[in-house]
Amino acid sequence: MKFIIAIIKPFKLDEVREALGAIGVAGMTVSEVKGFGRQKGQTEIYRGAEYSTNMLPKVKIEVAASDALAAQVVETIQQTASTDSIGDGKIFVFDLASTTRIRTGETGDNAL
């Protein structure tokens, strides 16, 4: 099984979630993160103190998916989250050693 971490632009979250639902992804975990990369942030000024923070608000999506589905998940996220502008984010894929559903103790693909 695969575990996919995607960093995307916040306003893309709903679209991505729907798209993933459409291809049969049962669930996901989302968190707010700050991203640092090529995309330059707006400068903030407070009484002359200028901060051009490159730490931009991003959303991190974590999805566990069966090996079968994984490739499709990556493709779906990549296509839905892309705006062709710098800062769209990344998708990272990991191998999962095991998965367990807490409620039932089921493991493997049944846990999703």
């Binding site: 709903d14 707006q42 400068t43 903030e44 000024i45 407070y46």
Partner: protein
């Protein structure tokens, strides 16, 4: 107007004197009447309370309802138009609304407050007077909050520069004339005898209708209505609600211009009409199968305050309770059932609550004023006739607001482009328009 009714010809007389008194004094140097410290004290307090309604009151009420990326922009827009209104008021606003010269539509003179001194006085509705600088300040805060209220429908997408231009034009061509027509002794609605104790037409119907027109021209927020846009902090909205209620006593009871029995009546009505409206909104939610909500409580409070504004000194406490309840339920349906159907984006329901609630209040005042409903009206008071007057004043106000707002918005559009770029709207106006974040 309530004013004329309250004290019959006396008031009219007094008001006329008011308009000319200070003048005469300066000109002829006649011995000026002196303000009773008690009335001056109350009116200064009332004036300060109205500022509390704007900043931080309204800024928090509106700000809490926006998304956090637009919090600071919303608050700054409110603060800035209020500040602008204050400057414009002393420069030409007071003159256009309450100047010594004029007709039933507009007045002039006393521009830049020329001729007013610490000894100048303005008449109340009895033979008392208050310091004219206090009267000027009290009325100033009304202009400031009215333009701020309008912004409720256009937040999260209008340029800061556009907001300022719009405010400047709108105050000049919409607010000052209407204020003159309703509150000045020569004003057309004043003479008509329309009842408006504290500004139901001038402030709320005016602001509500203008807000609707502005929102229609400006267009919806990107993503509205399918994208969720929950209030970023109902906590702050409740704080703003509380401060609005507190400040509103200055607005309503201050409109008696004295610390007398009429102010006392406005005081108690501003308590009970609001309490009733708050509970009835939650009741309406319950009845329509939802949970009674915090935002429902807040919305009810505002609806009740709006509805009681024209009736504050024009109804008995029981009439006030009924009026508040009625306005609350009507606004509930307007905001949660009607708006979604019509599909326009009156973002914070400036029209849904101030416009609708103001109309219910203005018309209802024509009924609750009757002694039959415990109102202060005389035995000869005729509801039917009064309703005609009320309704015509309302319709006239709606027409003026709609036309004037259209002009003001297009002027702003021509000069500034009106709406922020797509990127700024997505990123948020805080960072895009002001280069700051509300929370770090």
């Amino acid at each position: 107007m309530i004013r004329k009714m309250l004290c019959g010809a006396g008031a009219l007389g007094a008001s006329l004197v008011a308009a000319t008194a200070a003048f005469a004094q300066d000109a002829a140097g006649a011995v000026p009447a002196v303000a009773n410290p008690g009335n001056n004290a109350w009116m200064m307090t009332a004036t300060v309370l109205v500022l509390l309604m704007i900043l931080p009151g309204l800024a928090l009420f509106y700000g809490g309802l926006t998304r956090s990326k637009n919090m600071i922009a919303t608050m700054t827009q409110i603060g800035s138009v209020a500040a602008l209104a204050m400057l414009v008021w002393v420069m030409w606003g007071y003159g256009l609304a309450f100047g010594p010269e004029g007709n039933q539509y507009i007045s002039w003179g006393k521009f830049f407050l020329s001729g007013i001194t610490p000894d100048s006085t303005a008449a109340t509705f009895t033979d008392e007077v208050i310091s004219e600088y206090v009267f000027v300040s009290f009325q100033m805060t009304f202009a400031a909050i009215t333009i701020a209220l309008v912004l409720g429908s256009v937040v999260e997408r209008m340029k800061f520069s556009a907001v300022l231009v719009f405010a400047l034009v709108w105050l000049t061509i919409v607010y000052f004339p209407i204020a003159h027509m309703v509150w000045e002794a020569r004003g057309v609605f004043f003479v008509m005898g329309a009842l408006d104790f504290a500004g139901g037409t001038v402030v709320h119907i005016n602001a509500g209708v203008s807000a609707l027109v502005a929102a229609l021209i400006l267009g919806k927020r990107r993503g509205y209505p399918h994208e969720p846009m929950p209030p970023h902090s109902l906590t702050l909205t409740m704080v703003g609600t509380g401060l609005l209620w507190v400040g509103w006593f200055g607005f309503n009871a201050g409109s008696a211009l004295e610390a007398n029995g009429s102010a006392a009546l406005a005081l108690i009505n501003t308590f009970v009409a609001t309490a009733s409206a708050a509970l009835f909104w939650m009741l309406a939610e319950r009845v329509s199968g939802h949970k009674p909500s915090a935002l429902g409580f807040c919305s009810g409070v505002i609806a009740g305050l709006v509805a009681i504004t024209p009736a504050a000194g024009n109804a008995g406490p029981l009439g006030a309770i009924v009026l508040g309840a009625l306005a609350s339920v009507v606004c509930f349906f307007a905001v949660s059932k009607l708006k979604p159907k019509l599909g326009y984006d009156d973002s914070l329901d400036a029209f849904g609550i101030h416009g609708i609630g103001g109309i219910v209040g203005a018309v209802g005042t024509g009924i609750v004023f009757s002694p039959a409903f415990g109102g202060p009206g005389g035995d000869d008071f005729e509801i039917g006739a009064q309703l005609v007057t009320q309704v015509s004043a309302v319709l006239a106000t709606i027409a003026i607001s709609a036309i004037g707002t259209t002009v003001a918005i297009y002027v702003a559009k021509a000069l500034t482009g009106l709406r922020v770029s797509h990127e700024v709207e997505v990123e948020g106006l805080d960072i895009g328009e002001h280069g700051e974040r509300a929370y770090n």
